[in-house]
């Protein structure tokens, strides 16, 4: 086994030092009745070459976005990953260390995390970011738990149905359905008056998605004010934070906690993971924030240094009273995001954000002009929009797939009244040619 460096000689020498006769005897502290009678039934190992061939066979059973024109988004957005990002993020000094518990020999990871926090906080317009959460959805759930902690007796969490359905599911799984109030949207937007009606003294937080699950960019100022007036917290959720390149940031409308999904920041979609949970909040709530945080300090020589800090919030010290149970996080994804954001820079993120919006706007226009397509909602959208078709979405999507187009997500999957609605996404990867051909094939399908 090439991962086991032990030679027969060495094993013998080591056993001698230990005072054991054979390796087997080192397991004698395990009572024999606990010893498994059977081998592990997974067969023999194989060589790297055999393994590579096997893996290649598996991938051949997948169709990749390179084989299709893909308009799939809905929380996992395909973006071009500059070569520099993958190359730097795969340096083994970033890939193979553990959590930087020993700061003196981990300044690389720590400074990167500090810079990640800084860029994320700036992008979201928030005071402070943690060093990553698992995913946008788990960050959202932990934000709700945090709001309950802050709200003390307040227990109720209000959320709209234009929050990503899988985020809603994770919320329900984690918090339990008691105390979660889901408010149906109106024309794809928040039903503000209904939300306000629910804003009582028992409300810990209102959750909003920005841009929302249907791609719509809603103004959250009003709902923020009402929420704050009711003494509750506003939690903002952004599965596509690239939108913040051109859109007002959650800080602007005074979000208390703003979370997001960082998959768009230099990570391959990769069947949806690893994801990158973004978690930001206001300074005043920092001690209630889950997850690791890196802070700046000095060493004994006074040299500027970085270290994990505020760890008294965390499980390894506070145990059952910790602000969260999170331990391992998504540090390498945060590192990747930091490299990606540093590459984009101030201008780049704006340009790229606008490019995504422009491609989607163009697609929305040409698809809307197809006979048999209507736009059910008429609000402004960023990179995604919903179309309504004169045939069942499932059939349309299947017909498109036959023409090598992944046309979007069938909303009937989550919304029983939307069986003829498709969520269509564009990024910088969708060329005009692709979009035009989508429109023309759709024309055929719907005619």
């Amino acid at each position: 086994m090439r991962y086991l460096p032990h030679t027969e000689d060495e094993i013998q020498q080591m056993l001698q030092t230990i005072g054991a006769t054979d390796v087997e005897s080192l397991f004698k502290s395990i009572p024999t009745e606990f010893r498994s009678k059977s081998n592990i039934d997974i067969g023999d190992g194989c060589s790297e070459l055999e393994l590579t061939e096997h893996l290649e066979e598996l991938t051949l059973r997948n169709s990749c976005s390179s084989d299709f024109a893909s308009f799939l988004g809905a929380g996992a957005y395909r973006h071009y990953i500059p070569a520099v990002v993958s190359e730097l993020a795969s340096r083994s000094e970033f890939v193979t260390p553990y959590t930087p518990y020993q700061p003196e020999i981990s300044q690389g990871t720590l400074q990167v995390l500090f810079e990640y926090q800084s860029m994320i906080a700036r992008l979201f317009g928030m005071d402070v970011s943690n060093a990553s959460h698992y995913s946008g959805a788990t960050a959202c759930a932990d934000a709700a738990l945090m709001a309950r902690r802050i709200g003390k007796k307040r227990h109720k969490i209000i959320l709209p149905d234009n929050l990503h359905p899988e985020y809603r599911e994770v919320l329900a799984t984690t918090l339990g359905v008691d105390g979660l109030t889901v408010i149906p949207s109106k024309d794809g937007c928040l039903d503000k008056s209904k939300i306000m009606k629910h804003l009582g003294e028992d409300v810990a937080a209102v959750i909003v998605q920005y841009p929302n699950f249907f791609g719509i960019v809603e103004d959250m100022s009003e709902i923020a004010t009402s929420t704050h007036n009711a003494g509750a917290l506003l939690i903002s959720v952004t599965p596509e934070p690239l939108s913040l390149g051109i859109l007002n940031h959650p800080g602007q409308w005074d979000a208390d906690i703003a979370v997001g999904e960082g998959l768009s920041f230099g990570l391959p979609v990769s069947f949806g993971g690893p994801t990158l949970g973004i978690f930001t909040t206001k300074n005043k709530f920092v001690r209630q924030m889950p997850g690791r945080i890196c802070g700046k300090t000095v060493d004994v020589d006074g040299k500027g240094s970085y270290t994990l800090t505020l760890s008294t919030r965390e499980q390894h010290i506070r145990r059952e009273r910790a602000t969260s149970n999170i331990c391992s996080n998504q540090a390498l994804c945060a590192t990747t995001a930091a490299i990606y954001l540093a590459s984009l820079g101030k201008q780049g993120i704006r340009e790229l954000s606008l490019r995504n919006a422009s491609n989607a706007a163009y697609a929305k226009r040409v698809l809307a002009s197809v006979n048999g397509v209507t736009l059910p909602f008429n609000s402004a959208t960023f990179n995604e929009f919903v179309i309504k078709t004169n045939k069942p979405a499932a059939d349309v999507i299947q017909a498109l797939e036959n023409e090598l187009i992944l046309g979007g997500v069938d909303l009937g999957r989550w919304f029983s009244n939307m069986n003829d609605h498709i969520l269509v996404c564009c990024t910088e990867l969708n060329s005009k040619k692709e979009i035009d051909s989508y429109a023309s094939i759709l024309t055929e399908i719907l005619s």
């Binding site: 592990i40 991938t59 500059p82 690893p274 300090t297 270290t307 540090a331 590459s343």
Partner: protein, 495 residues
Amino acid sequence: MTNRAHTPNGHGTEGLLYEEPTLFEQSAKGRKGICLGKADVPEMKMGEEFGSLVRDKAPDLPELAEVDVVRHFTRLSIQNYSKDLGFYPLGSCTMKHNPRIANKAAAMPGFTDTHPYQPADSVQGNLELCYELENMLAKISGMDSVTLWPAAGSHGELTGMLMIRAYHTSKGNPRSKVLIPDSAHGTNPASAAICHYKVQSIKSGPDGLLDPSAVEEAMDEEVAAIMITNPNTLGIFEENFKKVADIVHSKGGLVYLDGANLNALMGYVKPGEIGADVMHFNLHKTFGTPHGGGGPGAGPVGVVKELSPFLPLPRINKNEDHYNISYNSDTSIGRINTFFGNFAVLVRAYTYIRELGATGLKEATEMAVLNANYIRARLSGTFNLPYDKPVLHECVFNDKIQNEFGVKTLDIAKRLMDYGFHPPTVYFPLIVSGAIMIEPTETECKSILDDFCDAMIAIAKECEKDPDLVKTAPHHPFRRRIDEVKAAKEMCLKD
């Protein structure tokens, strides 16, 4: 930009290490790191579309050219110690070598370019991989079914505890308490607490082991489960595991096994055969996926068949040679994460397990245990062993002997850096004062263990002869001892 290559006295480099200003300090207005190319569609008029929702100023990200980005992150990277540079004996963390083929596998475009909402027909390769990985984990652990979606060990704990709650709820009473030994990892109580369980701590016996009578005493029909780490965080096998499991089961409780230490058991013990009802795996520990400076990992959870109905969604099913995904279930606890968890981590673990096979996994366990026992043998006497029982994959010393000279565990840890080693886990488990928890893993050869033990012994001598040298360590790394108190007090958390 501040002067990056040297400090004021003109001597910034030690070796090839640089003082590296932050990205923001290096930013210059108008510099670019990417270039978008011409648009083929008309540019959207932002004002018309979004009105007041248009961001007034571009996000204040740093402005850098590609070369700046490359140098910045390359320079920062070499300020890190990493598994690829040397021995990394963090107890409980299982820092084994990360096979390179796994990185290559995870980066195959046939995996990376698949979308979670593609039709199941078009991702049969992904589904087969997941299905088979669940299967292999079940075979390794003796559990009946497995979910792959939790993103890390503690997320797996939460998932497991939610299933336990759902199980009890289905029986009419979710119950209110969870028993956890005082030697457990902090994530155990924290995870139980999220599920609204009251945590009752069980004091370890004088031998560091779970004391069945203490469990017996605490056990009642309000106890939903006990969470046990086995081998425990001292590296000692819980010889009363089955007895304890029987006690808990007899009152209708369940047994949760924290599988962080599975590296000590593969091929020897299948937790499902000795009474565990739920357990999590840390793929980033036992199955060699890289830690990435903190993550991503993956924390699959295995359960016995009584708990299978509660497994989180989605589930992957096999029908002849075809795989499909079921998104709904009446009994499931629901989704625990979006999409298919940390999929690329699953690809790595799958690759690892397939390469090693049954025999390789068992050998890995054997060599891990051999290595830990070798270190224990070489260092006992020089360092105090608070619990002198046979260990499996790791061993825990403490600083009792060195305390005499005023030296603490932290000092010894820092001094190890001067010898070129990453320190062991320190001050955990909490039941050992000044714990030094060493887990070498199986991927280290004797000569490296010898180097490490020599260093530990040399430091022990220094503690006697020149304790100040140790107390002021480290002296050689990029930074000397870092002021963590100031960090917490001043809370400078961003630039």
